[in-house]
């Protein structure tokens, strides 16, 4: 089964529900984590939800010297193994879309992992600007 994470910026209202859903899904020690998705305004009342594109030839995987970033073949998402991560911030600097982030609350590096196959942001998006669609 193949899925595709679709972002449709023309439907985004900038309500930031996805940010909340993401932060609370990644809660640890009763503290919400840093959101991996950001609706960014580019004009008045026009927003683009920016999140990891799970690139085929990913700069984050290439730049990680400790092999902490690997692709999950099942979901296609690039997942960060926190046990291997030493927080050198190479991936944060290398990602051309700025989607590997530093979480100052939990003091760790975070990036979108598609919630292991059911992204919370897409489930909570009220306007369906974010969708996780079955394609085959």
């Amino acid at each position: 089964m193949m899925f595709r994470f679709e972002v449709n910026p023309s439907l985004c209202t900038g309500c930031r529900t996805c940010e909340l859903a993401c932060a609370f899904t990644h809660t640890k020690n009763q503290k919400p984590g840093r959101s991996r998705i950001y609706p960014i305004g580019y004009a008045k009342d026009e927003y683009v939800p920016v999140t990891c594109l799970q690139c085929d030839e990913a700069a984050c995987i290439k730049s990680c010297m400790f092999d902490a970033l690997r692709r999950n073949e099942e979901t296609g998402a690039i997942e960060l193994n926190l046990e291997r991560c030493v927080k050198c911030e190479a991936c944060v600097a290398a990602c051309p879309f700025g989607c590997a982030l530093i979480d100052n609350v939990h003091e760790e590096i975070v990036k979108c992992d598609l919630c292991g196959g059911s992204p919370a942001c897409a489930q909570f998006c009220p306007t369906k600007a974010l969708e996780y669609k079955k394609i085959a």
Binding site: S10, I40, E46, V48, V50, K62, N81, A90
Partner: protein, 241 residues
């Protein structure tokens, strides 16, 4: 190794020198467990679980009285060696040690000689630091106690250090670690400091990542994505009208 299996089964065994990114070396001795086998006729052995290979029929006990006693002694010694380390203090308190029964090391620097820093530097392919001198004078240091020529200022050693001994300082676009100064890349749009120039050059050269990826900070890169995608949306709307 055995420690990975113990952790997988949800049993809490302490360890300081262990990290998945580096090879285990069994230097902190805290992951000590008791092993035996049916055919050993009651003989048992104490081993560091991070270095012991898993095998069929192995019976492992992680919290026997003897194992606890070994761990307590090690933590007691660590308390004497690292009186200022919060990590050690917290760990020792869990085992009921609040004060060391040994004489505290004068001018202690909290280093437990676990070699996590030198091992991670090796994984990175630099080996800029190593253990020098012998016995009680042994310290982790750059060659000849001088500025390390191979250090690229990535801070991996400082981040992996379990007792936070390795200090660094980021100030006015300059990073200082091991007495070496590094130029930090400054975002060309907002001026935020990113990683050190030498670390970025190392990644660019070794992993063939395009150099222009390192010019701006993550915030500015996300804003750029929004601008570019936004302009496409605007154009699509104009066309449909």
């Amino acid at each position: 190794m055995l420690l990975a299996v113990i952790r997988r089964e949800g049993v809490d065994v302490p360890a300081l020198c262990e990290h998945e990114a580096i090879e285990p070396c069994g230097s902190c001795r805290l992951c000590m467990v008791e092993i035996t086998k049916k055919e050993w006729d009651g003989w048992k052995n104490h081993v560091t679980s991070c270095l012991y290979p898993v095998e069929d029929g192995l019976i492992v006990s992680t919290h026997t009285d003897q194992v606890m006693e070994i761990r307590k002694t090690i933590l007691d010694l660590y308390m004497a060696r690292c009186p200022g380390s919060e990590v050690i203090q917290k760990m020792a308190e869990e085992y009921g040690i609040y004060k060391t029964s040994y004489i505290t090391v004068p001018d202690a620097d909290n280093c437990i000689m676990c070699y996590a820093c030198t091992r991670i530097c090796e994984v990175l392919g630099k080996s800029a630091i190593a253990a020098v001198e012998r016995g009680h004078r042994k310290v982790i240091a750059p060659p000849f106690g001088d500025v390390p020529p191979d250090c690229i200022g990535c801070l991996s050693c400082a981040h992996i250090c379990p007792t936070d001994v390795i200090k660094w300082n980021d100030e006015d676009g300059t990073r200082t670690i091991w007495k070496k100064n590094f130029e930090l890349i400054t975002c060309k749009e907002c001026g935020k400091n990113i990683i050190s120039r030498e670390f970025a050059d190392y990644i660019i050269e070794k992993r063939e990542v395009p150099a222009e990826y390192f010019e701006t900070c993550d915030d500015c890169k996300r804003a750029e994505v929004a601008r570019k995608m936004g302009s496409l949306v605007t154009r699509a709307k104009e066309v449909s009208l």
